[in-house]
């Protein structure tokens, strides 16, 4: 199994995912550093991502957009805060408010380390500023994200009824 650990902290709005790959540190790094590789995994095939500007360096800005099957193209960008090739990335994923001010979606911290010869662990820690930002993240991550979020409504309302 590729994913080896998942931790969720609803109070801190944090998700941590660890995965191991039979590949070198350099090849895992390239999944993040090479925009053509990045766009093959960031969005699902039904909601592909296009990275129009990507130079993974501290202080740089990455620009991308998703393409929905209806042709809608929400735009997002990363403010790349810290980079230490080929082991560490700290970035803030954002999109723009209609007035042009930035709206942070989350902060993503990536760590890449060799655990054995030819085996590499990647850890990803994602911190959300608010529950609202999580809704935004789902909307920007998958075309079906919002439908899935809403499919929980019945269950949540049922819980509400029990509480009353």
């Amino acid at each position: 199994m590729t994913v080896t650990a998942v931790r969720k902290d609803p109070q801190r709005l944090t998700l941590t995912v660890e995965a191991e790959f039979d590949a070198s540190v350099e090849r895992i790094w390239q999944l993040w550093a090479d925009p053509r590789k990045l766009e093959r995994w960031w969005g699902p095939p039904t909601y592909p991502a296009t990275f129009t500007k990507h130079d993974l360096a501290s202080g740089s800005r990455t620009e991308y957009h998703m393409t929905g099957s209806g042709g809608d193209q929400p735009h997002g960008y990363w403010d790349v805060l810290e980079v230490e090739p080929p082991r560490r990335i700290l970035l803030r994923d954002c999109c723009d408010n209609p007035d042009g001010t930035p709206r942070p979606i989350n902060t993503i911290r990536v760590g890449i380390e060799e655990v054995a010869q030819g085996r590499t662990r990647m850890s990803i820690e994602i911190v959300f500023p608010s529950a609202k930002a999580m809704v935004q993240a789902l909307a920007m991550g998958t075309d079906e994200g919002l439908s899935q979020a809403v499919s929980q409504i019945d269950a949540i309302l049922a819980e509400e009824t029990i509480r009353r």
Binding site: T2, P10, L13, L15, R40, G68, P98, M134, Q152, I153
Partner: protein
């Protein structure tokens, strides 16, 4: 965690019908920030103001958006967050990242395979 539900409980058929349309999904996405009125929302789509107004009405009936007065303006706001519990969102975000990691693995396997193929070609020479 106590969630205050301020709107009428959504009819799930209406909710799913409302979200089956891309423009409406996009309106819900934009209205998360609750910054725009119907007129401003309409400017994003290659359709008439009346058509966008109809989409907004469908979403409003489904309980997915509300119109809220901010000063003199009426902005469209997604009403999802009142219903969403952080834990459930984290579950979904976990699924999103698991899918991303699956794609990474496929990519690694594929590029590994490409190298092997090249090596086979080399050895055949």
């Amino acid at each position: 965690m106590v969630v205050s539900v301020q709107i009428a409980p959504p009819d799930s058929d209406r909710v799913f019908a409302a979200l089956a349309d891309h423009t409406r999904r996009d309106i819900v996405r934009r209205a998360i920030s609750a910054e725009e009125g119907v007129l401003e929302l309409a400017s994003h789509y290659p359709m008439s103001f009346a058509a966008v107004q109809k989409h907004v009405a469908v979403l409003e009936r489904a309980g997915l958006i509300t119109k809220q007065r901010i000063g003199r303006r009426r902005v469209v706001r997604t009403s999802l967050q009142a219903l969403l519990v952080a834990r459930r969102l984290l579950d979904q975000y976990e699924d999103l990242w698991r899918a991303r990691i699956d794609r990474m693995s496929e990519l690694i396997a594929e590029t590994g395979g490409a190298v092997d193929t090249m090596e086979i070609k080399e050895s055949k020479r």
